[in-house]
């Protein structure tokens, strides 16, 4: 957004423009270029950085500051998983860690004022939505991946037969064969609802929080167009909402991470 173009826009146009993704085409399929580029870039940045850090990790002696921070992050995730899962938790910790760090990184773009990214990218893109988690594609991608991993984990632990048994014979247990056959479709329906509600609730919670936060930021930014008083009150409100997001951004990442760990740990439990 450059100054002159935003001055010519109506408030509705301004908001709509900010909530529009930059579209591109890959093999005849439309994609949100800004979401994918921001997401991958941030992921490459944080995970690449952690990779480099992990190569310099010292096993013995006093750890450096970077390693101490890195270990803090790891032990934070590890402690959550440890509380709910006994057994080899390396894989679950890895999934939870990835979810937490990536979502935290993408959410943190929110701390940049809404127009900064637009001004920076205006020279090569007509629109750039910087918060990748305010795009349902990202949140749904992560939650579906998590559910996929959960199903794989279930089959690995219980076997394909055990998993089918879980999908058809629970939560309602039939005493005899007839009861079992009668309850089978009901059980299956319940399990399917559960299976679908998990990724949907995960994805929509994160998406809703980030998208709504973005809209509020845009509304506050609109105040800046209403004279000197608007600029001042807008600045105060923006600061307040940003402080609130200091809580929301890590909290949403944390909730997503916790539920990921819970679902994966649940895959190990049999009814």
């Amino acid at each position: 957004m450059s100054e002159d173009s935003s001055a010519a826009q109506s408030p509705t146009e301004y908001i709509q423009h900010h909530l529009t993704n930059l579209h591109g085409m890959i093999g005849g399929n439309e994609i949100n270029v800004d979401t994918v580029v921001t997401g991958w870039l941030l992921g490459a940045l944080v995970f690449g950085g952690l990779w480099i850090l992990s190569r310099g990790v010292k096993t013995e002696g006093v750890p450096g500051k970077a390693q101490a921070f890195f270990e803090l992050l790891y032990e934070f995730v590890d402690a959550q998983v440890k509380d709910m899962f006994t057994g080899n938790r390396r894989w679950i910790v890895a999934v939870s860690f990835t979810v937490f760090v990536w979502i935290l990184a993408m959410n943190s773009v929110k701390f940049l004022p809404v127009d900064f990214v637009g001004v920076a990218t205006h020279s090569f893109a007509h629109a750039w939505k910087p918060v990748a988690t305010a795009d349902l594609n990202t949140t749904l991608a992560i939650s579906l991946s998590v559910i996929l991993l959960m199903i794989i984990e279930s089959i690995k632990v219980k076997g394909i037969g055990g998993y089918i048994h879980e999908l058809t014979m629970t939560p309602f247990h039939g005493g005899n064969l007839i009861a079992k056959i009668v309850l089978l479709p009901i059980n299956f329906l319940f399990q399917m609802i559960e299976l679908l509600s998990k990724p949907l609730s995960l994805a929509l919670r994160l998406f809703g929080n980030m998208y709504a936060g973005e809209v509020i930021f845009l509304l506050i930014s609109l105040l800046a167009g209403a004279g000197i008083f608007g600029v001042l009150s807008g600045a105060v409100l923006h600061a307040g909402w940003a402080v609130f997001h200091l809580l929301v951004v890590p909290l949403q990442a944390f909730i997503f991470m916790m539920l990921t760990a819970v679902y994966l740990a649940m895959a190990h439990e049999s009814h």
């Binding site: 890959i26 890895a94 991608a141």
Partner: protein, 156 residues
């Protein structure tokens, strides 16, 4: 909202990052954390062991000190006894030596007095003979009357 390709790409991204995290990022970190946890546990156990051995050593030291004290007092008592014994012995020895000396002196005195008595007796006998000679105005032949004179000497 266009769900589809973007979702797929983000999902692929997620799995790539997950792979990197699981394969490269977390293992060295987990090793480091576990290693340090083990190190700390070992250190604590070592400290506990050190504490226990210190207590044992303290007990040993107390025992040795008590033993040494007992021994020292024993030695002091023994020395005391020996001292008294030595003093007593030297006392009695001195007394014995004194007694012996006294005895010797007394013997000498007795000897001297016997000797003096004998000398005196000889002289008295000579004097008596001389006196008798004078009284009788005649010479008594000592060879003739030696028996008589000897008898007189013995009577004296």
């Amino acid at each position: 909202m266009n769900l589809g390709m973007t979702l797929l790409l983000q999902g692929i991204g997620f799995f790539i990052f997950l792979f990197v995290v699981y394969k490269f990022v977390l293992p060295p970190l987990a090793d480091a954390v576990d290693g340090r946890r083990r190190q700390i546990a070992d250190g604590l156990a070592e400290a506990e062991k050190g504490k226990a051995s210190l207590a044992t050593a303290q007990k040993e030291v107390d025992k040795i000190i008590a033993e040494a004290k007992a021994k020292a007092s024993e030695i002091v008592a023994l020395a005391e006894k020996q001292r008294t014994a030595t003093i007593d012995a030297s006392k009695s020895e001195a007394k014995a030596a004194g007694d012996r000396e006294k005895q010797m002196a007394a013997d000498e005195i007795a000897q001297l007095s016997v000797k003096a008595k004998a000398e005196l007796r000889d002289r008295v006998a000579d004097l008596a003979v001389a006196g008798a000679e004078r009284i009788l105005k005649r010479e008594i032949n000592p060879q003739v009357h030696s028996d008589l004179l000897g008898q007189l000497k013995a009577e004296l």
